[in-house]
């Protein structure tokens, strides 16, 4: 078996001991790589009832199958653990190069357990594994940390780290590498809870694909296909926010002012068609990406002069922009930079600020409590200011630092009515009142409201995907089975380590050729989908074991009770009956019981223990 290293490194921070687990072809046929490996490590490694911030939680990091090999957009690293935001099995994907570096060091995955007695960082250099003192790194941000560590270990090491928010156990804290983040679900707090500031890797081993010349041919072929596609121009010129105008004007599903509206009237000021030519000086890419959607966005003058970020991505234009009523793109960029530096997820952070703004609008919280005017009309000043307070758990920021669900609980006074989340995670930039299958996907996503566990926004917005045609976004019909299938796909992509923006190029039937060139292993399309199904079932079964079942999946009141007030999707919402119908259909498609618990027969069929 080529392509894989066949080894998983296990590090216990409590005992400062490490060990190596070898994996064989059987393991790969069962879990594939990337997310599959990471989920397996968490599923079997975390004892029942473990708190996400307990030393017994596992933080797994794994390289996708393609990671380390020249496959365009195939360089993803996957992190997983029990998620602090939701208490469910949470995986988060990043485009940083640490996974590939780990593979060069001789490992397909890393499992971190325990808790260091003092702030520490892990240094892996091929077979050498050290747990080093990180007291001087504590309190440093996500740009200072790699800079200091590269000064010490050389510019070629790869560094994944947390910022101050992860240290302070913010349940929306992320993990950063190469200015790319494993953003969602609060895994940065898992690192913080382990007193682990950074993971540093230098790998010097060769990676040998099974068919080098075949792989090079595949790489060039796909690169040409991508370059010829319209999305290449869109991504390289405007980034992921390219379709922001379309989502607003044509579809009317851009959640605005904490989901009180679904069209952002001032959108043109945050649209990349406005800012790309004014603020962007070059493209930035994830590791191994030849179709870069990242932008170096710089503010050269004015109040926010000096801001320099890899962004602004579509989701962040929503969360720190539209969701907060913030039409000042420089302020959005500054807030984005603060999220990156402190190490908090931009989606969760922005939605939480927008939520607090609505609370102030409704008089549930006061200017006195917060310390300043946290209002939609004061967004350009208020958003970056509150992000900084959240990142440092300062003042009212401490209340918001764990996301909307925790904040609503602390604030009380009916605040929960305005908290938009599922399972405790803040939703991304698609108003599911006007895309009902995607609403189902927010509920069934094992890590809470997410656009990437099923990627169902694309089929519903475009009306077709893969073998499906004529998909009606306003209808709940048939969505259960489609969402389940899409979830299985996405588990495969995250195990492969392929960017989901490339799923249209690499439809599931295209993957076996590439996997074979790397590993020599032959997989059929059916086998891959079975692996995807297995991974999703493991996550579902883990969550059920932790007591998170259907009752905890439900959509928040805003989606059920408040129809979209205006725009192309005016009047639409998901009724309680529609919600239940979609969930029932989904459970049938999954062979799960009505409460969302995988059936023993299904688990047996998939070989899950």
């Amino acid at each position: 078996m080529k392509g894989f290293t066949g080894k998983i490194l296990k590090i216990d921070l409590t005992t400062e001991k490490n060990s190596v687990k070898t994996i064989d072809e059987k393991y790969i046929r069962k879990y594939l790589g990337g997310q599959g490996f990471a989920v397996e490590l968490v599923y079997h490694g975390v004892p029942k009832g473990t708190d996400a911030l307990d030393p017994n939680n596992v933080l797994a990091m794994a390289a996708g199958v393609f990671d380390g090999y020249p496959v365009p957009t195939g360089g993803k690293t996957i992190f997983a653990g029990k998620g602090p935001a939701t208490g469910t099995l949470c995986e988060s994907v990043m485009g940083g190069s640490i996974g590939a570096e780990l593979r060069h060091a001789g490992f397909d995955a890393l499992e971190i357990m325990g808790r260091a007695s003092e702030p520490a960082y892990i240094f892996i250099e091929d077979d050498k594994v050290e747990i080093n003192d990180a007291r001087d790194l504590w309190g440093k941000d996500t740009r200072q940390v790699p800079e200091l560590l590269k000064k010490k270990h050389g510019w070629d090491v790869k560094v994944a780290c947390i910022g101050m928010a992860g240290e302070k156990l913010s349940r929306i804290a992320c993990i950063d590498c190469d200015d790319r983040q494993a953003g969602r679900g609060g895994l940065g707090a898992v690192m913080g809870s382990k007193n682990l500031k950074a993971i540093v890797v230098r790998g010097t081993h060769d990676l040998e694909p099974a068919d080098p010349s075949g792989l090079l041919e595949i790489a060039l072929r796909y690169q040409k296909i991508m370059e010829a596609a319209p999305s290449f121009v869109e991504d390289t010129k405007y980034g992921t926010g390219e379709f922001l105008g379309w989502v607003n004007k044509e579809k009317g599903v851009f959640p605005t002012r904490n989901w009180q509206e679904s069209v952002f009237a001032e959108r043109e000021k945050i649209d990349p068609y406005y800012w790309a030519t004014r603020y962007v000086s070059k493209n930035k890419a994830c590791f191994a990406c030849t179709k870069p959607c990242g932008k170096l966005f710089e503010v050269k003058s004015g109040k926010f002069a000096g801001v320099a970020i890899d962004g602004i991505e579509y989701e962040t234009l929503y969360s720190l922009g539209g969701a907060c009523g913030n039409a000042d793109v420089e302020s959005v960029a500054r807030a984005n930079e603060l999220c990156d530096l402190y190490g908090i997820d931009t989606i969760s952070a922005g939605v939480t600020v927008g939520f607090a703004m609505e609370l102030m609008q409704r008089g549930i919280i006061s200017e006195k409590e917060v310390g300043f005017r946290l209002t939609f009309d004061n967004a350009p000043d208020a958003v970056p200011r509150m992000i900084e307070m959240m990142g440092s758990r300062n003042g009212f920021g401490d209340i918001l630092a764990d996301g909307v669900k925790a904040a609503a609980k602390k604030i009380g006074k009916g605040a929960e009515r305005y908290a938009v989340h599922t399972k405790g995670m803040e939703p991304p930039a698609y108003d599911v009142r006007g895309m009902k299958g995607h609403g189902l996907a927010y509920m069934t996503s094992t890590r809470g409201a997410c656009h990437l566990r099923a990627g169902f926004y694309a089929p519903e917005l475009v009306g077709k995907f893969w073998r499906w045609q004529g998909i009606d976004r306003f209808s709940p019909e048939g969505k259960g089975a489609m969402v389940a299938t899409m979830e299985n796909f996405m588990c495969v992509y995250d195990s492969i380590g392929l960017c989901k923006f490339s799923r249209g190029f690499f439809l599931i039937e295209k993957l076996p050729e590439v996997i074979k060139a790397i590993s020599g292993l032959t997989f059929s399309e059916e086998e891959l989908l079975k692996i995807g199904e297995r991974i999703h079932n493991m996550k579902g079964n883990f969550n059920a074991r932790e007591g998170v079942t259907r009752k905890d999946w439900l959509l928040p009141p805003r989606i059920i009770q408040d129809p979209i007030p205006d725009g192309p999707s005016k009047g639409s919402h998901i009724t309680e009956a529609e919600m239940n119908k979609m969930l029932d259909d989904y459970m049938v498609a999954r062979s799960w019981n009505k409460d969302g618990v995988p059936s023993p027969e299904k688990l047996k069929e998939l070989g899950i223990e």
């Binding site: 020249p70 740009r143 090079l216 790489a219 030849t290 870069p292």
Partner: protein, 148 residues
């Protein structure tokens, strides 16, 4: 005029695809440290490729000049290592101003892939071009390297 690799730092996205393509084309395996060019992903603002300039811009820090056994030769503008003569002393690696001379059992370096450079083929952003040498672009890279 002989064509050379020319780096354009402002177009480099830091994806490092060129490094992988370089070693897989030459050795059938991937090892970034063996790539005959290096991508530096320094921070959010700075990414750049460092390439071999085949004597165009090295000045006194030239592997050809410094090789104690004259194993490195510039023939018609292309610099190559004579493996028979190379003693693997490492001098060339030390002096190379672009940090792209490589050493395993013998020294090895960029051979421009016989006039069809793989790295150029795999850079869709045009951050490495195969064209008439541009000393000002090499100076730009030297300046960036000097900051490290």
């Amino acid at each position: 005029m002989v064509k050379m690799l020319v780096p354009y730092p402002d177009r480099c996205t830091g994806c490092r695809f060129c490094e992988m393509a370089c070693t897989i084309a030459h050795e059938g395996k991937i090892n970034h440290a063996d790539a005959r060019l290096q991508v530096h992903r320094r921070n959010v603002k700075v990414d750049f490729p460092s390439v071999c300039t085949h004597c165009v811009s090295c000045g006194e820090d030239c592997c050809v000049l410094h090789c104690p056994v004259d194993a490195i030769k510039n023939i018609d503008g292309i610099v190559s290592v004579d493996e028979e003569e190379c003693t693997a002393c490492g001098t060339c690696v030390e002096v190379c101003p672009f940090g792209v001379m490589r050493m395993e059992e013998k020294a090895f370096k960029c051979d421009l892939c016989d006039g069809d450079p793989t790295c150029v083929k795999f850079c869709p952003m045009g951050a490495i071009k195969y064209e008439e040498p541009k000393p000002e672009q090499y100076d730009l890279v030297k300046k960036l390297l000097g900051e490290e």
